[in-house]
Each structure stands twice: as C-alpha cells, then as structure tokens.
C-alpha cells in the first residue's frame, strides 16, 4: 500500500519522462501526420489531428497511450523487492535498479503498442458509421488489439512477477544474508548452513 501511495505521488514525474521518450520514439511509428505527444498529469497522451469527412477543419483526437493508474506493476514490483526476506540493503538497491530499468523498458514497449492500437482503432461518428485513420490495416489492428489487451489486463502483474523471479534466480546465494542456523532464504525449510551455504562452498 505504501508503494502504491508513493507511486501516486511520483507518477506525474514519471509520465513527463515517458512523454519525452514518446516524442523521440513514436513519430517514426506514427501514421497520422502532425500527431503530438505530451504528459497530462499522470498520463501520456497522443493528440492526433483528424478531419472527418464533412468537417471543415481537423480536430484533435486525444488517446491515452500510458496511464500511471494502470501501471500498478511498478509499485507491485517495488513492494515485492522490499518485502523479500533475507536480502541485504545492497541487494535490494541493485534489484530495484535493475528491475525498474527493465520494467520501464516494458512501459515504453507498452506505450508503443497502445499508440499503435489507438491509431488502428476507428472513430465512431454520430451516425454510427466508422471512420478509419489513413494508416489503418485490419491485420495490424487485430495484432495490436491482442497485444494491447494482454499488456492492459494481464501484463502488469506478469512482467513484474517475471522480472522479480528472474532476479531471485540470478542472485547468487552468497548475496543472500543469512546466519548458518537460520532457515535458508531459498525457502527449502532447511538450515542455511545445510542448504545454499553448501552451494557457495562448492
């Protein structure tokens, strides 16, 4: 809960950073000329100038391509690292640094997928008909929809858990703090001296 509240506080700053990345990265993938990207509070948004048939001038279609409120994988990961028993302060700091970099790269990838999904999604006009942006492709829409939904629904917890488990596996037993007669941090139930400590000696 503490990590979530901290995330709520720092999210606008993080969104500003992602907006900078979006401005550098996304124009090369953008199919609508004149699209702008910017942070709005704790969200990153794409402003696509669209002129619907029959309309005199273009108006911005605003799509949220990243939202802190939907990025709870980051505080979840921080909570996992901070709550893991047996890790020294140094291991926690390194794990947080490596994990947050990895998860931030995943956030950027998610933002790219979301941007692609929204530019493939048609606009529903007042009469119910659909208007497709010039870059629309049915195949790209289906693929980006599946990726977008995975990232949106299942990806946050999945990627955080995956990065955390990878860190647990990659940490050498010598980096885990435990006294010889304490139970082993690997969770085997045996004493540390009879479990991972022997692997270190080997």
């Amino acid at each position: 809960m503490g990590a979530s509240v901290a995330w709520y506080v720092v999210a606008p700053v993080y969104a500003d950073g992602l907006a900078v990345v979006a401005r550098q990265l996304l124009p090369s993938l953008e199919g609508t000329p004149g699209t702008r990207y910017g942070a709005d509070g704790s969200r990153v948004q794409a402003y696509r100038p669209v002129r619907l048939p029959g309309e005199g001038r273009a108006r911005d279609r605003v799509d949220t391509i990243w939202a802190a409120s939907a990025s709870f994988g980051l505080p979840f990961f921080v909570a996992l690292v901070l709550a893991t028993p047996g890790w020294s302060v140094g291991v926690r700091i390194r794990s947080l640094a490596v994990g947050l970099i990895a998860l931030s790269l995943i956030q950027v990838a998610t933002m790219v997928v979301t941007g692609e999904y929204w530019q493939q999604t048609p606009i529903r006009r007042p009469d119910g008909s659909l208007f497709y942006l010039p870059s629309h492709s049915p195949l790209r829409w289906q693929v980006s929809a599946a990726l977008y939904n995975f990232a949106e629904i299942m990806g946050k917890g999945f990627f955080s858990l995956l990065v955390f488990l990878a860190l647990v596996v990659l940490l050498r037993p010598s980096e885990v703090r435990a006294r010889p007669n304490e139970s082993c941090p690997c969770g085997s139930g045996r004493k540390f001296k009879r479990c991972c400590a022997q692997r270190v000696r080997c």
């Binding site: 809960m1 990590a3 979530s4 509240v5 995330w7 709520y8 409120s69 939907a70 709870f72 994988g73 505080p75 979840f76 909570a79 996992l80 599946a146 939904n149 995975f150 949106e152 629904i153 299942m154 946050k156 917890g157 999945f158 955080s160 858990l161 995956l162 955390f164 488990l165 990878a166 596996v169 969770g187 139930g189 692997r199 080997c202």
Partner: protein, 165 residues
C-alpha cells in the same frame, strides 16, 4: 554439472510459465463472452448481495452494481480471472507433484475469489461513503495489492511443496 542442471530447471520454469500465461490469456481472450462475461456477472451478484446485506439499497444488473446512487461495472482486472490465470500458470510451471498443483490451483481459486469479492465490496462501500477516495483506492491501491495477494498465494504454495528437481 549441478549448476547446469539447476539453471536447466529454472529455464524450464520460465519457459513453461510464459507459455502457460500466454495460453491462459489466449483462452480467456478468445472465450470472453463464454467465460469472462459470466464470471463478471457472478462477481457482481455475489458482491451486490453482500453490500445489500450490509444495509445498502443495491440493484445488480448484469455486471453492474448500483448502490445508493453509486454504480460500478465489473470488468477485467476487477474479476480476478486473469490474475487467477497468472497464478495457475505459475503453479503449473513449478516442479511439484500433480496433486500439489491441483490443490494449489483450487485453494488459490478460493482465496483469490474471496479477496476479489472483498475488494469489490470495499470499493462499492467506499464509493457510497467517500467517493473522493474511490479512484485512488481502486486504481492505485487495490490493483497492486491484489497482485501482491496473487504473489503471496504462489510463494506460500511454493514453500509448502517439495520440488521434484
């Protein structure tokens, strides 16, 4: 040699975990109307009944709960089903006996369903009594907390099973 074999087991776990997660997502994504929509309605009905028992005027319609002028719709990430899919993938990827995996899956399903109902009920109650706190609690606190429950269930299960390798 032992080091190679240990890493082999870890690589196998990751490959199976990723594959099962993608498989669970594909099944649920493709069978959205058949599985997810029905579970959304079930969660709404159970949660609505509990909120009603706590003294609010509640109406449930499909996956929507309306209580004292406040309405919520149960959607993905509020129904626990994809989180359960992730938990199941982690359980079945871990090297344990079939019996332990089945027990872990069933107990995990029970725990996650229960916690999810608690989540929905508290959010509806919060929406009725202190609406200004609803969004931060819903989007920031409960989402991360629920995945923490998923992780706790899995770690708790792992600590109680004997790996075969």
């Amino acid at each position: 040699m032992a080091r190679v074999s240990r890493h082999g087991a870890e690589v196998r776990f990751f490959v199976v975990f990723v594959t099962l997660t993608l498989g669970m997502f594909a099944v649920l994504y493709l069978a959205h109307d058949l599985i997810v929509v029905r579970i959304n309605q079930y969660v709404a009905q159970v949660s609505g009944a509990i909120v009603g028992a706590l003294g609010s005027d509640v109406v449930t319609a499909g996956a929507v709960i309306m209580a004292s002028g406040f309405a919520v719709e149960i959607k993905n990430n509020c129904n626990a089903i994809y989180e359960f899919g992730l938990f199941t993938a982690a359980v079945w990827a871990y090297p344990a006996s079939i019996g332990a995996k089945i027990a872990g899956t069933l107990i995990g399903a029970g725990v996650l369903t229960l916690v999810n109902v608690v989540r929905v009920v508290t959010l509806v109650a919060l929406g009725v009594t202190a609406r200004e706190w609803f969004e931060i609690t819903h989007l920031y606190v409960w989402q991360a907390a629920f995945f923490a429950v998923v992780a706790l269930c899995w770690f708790g299960w792992v600590l109680r099973v004997s790996p075969r390798t």
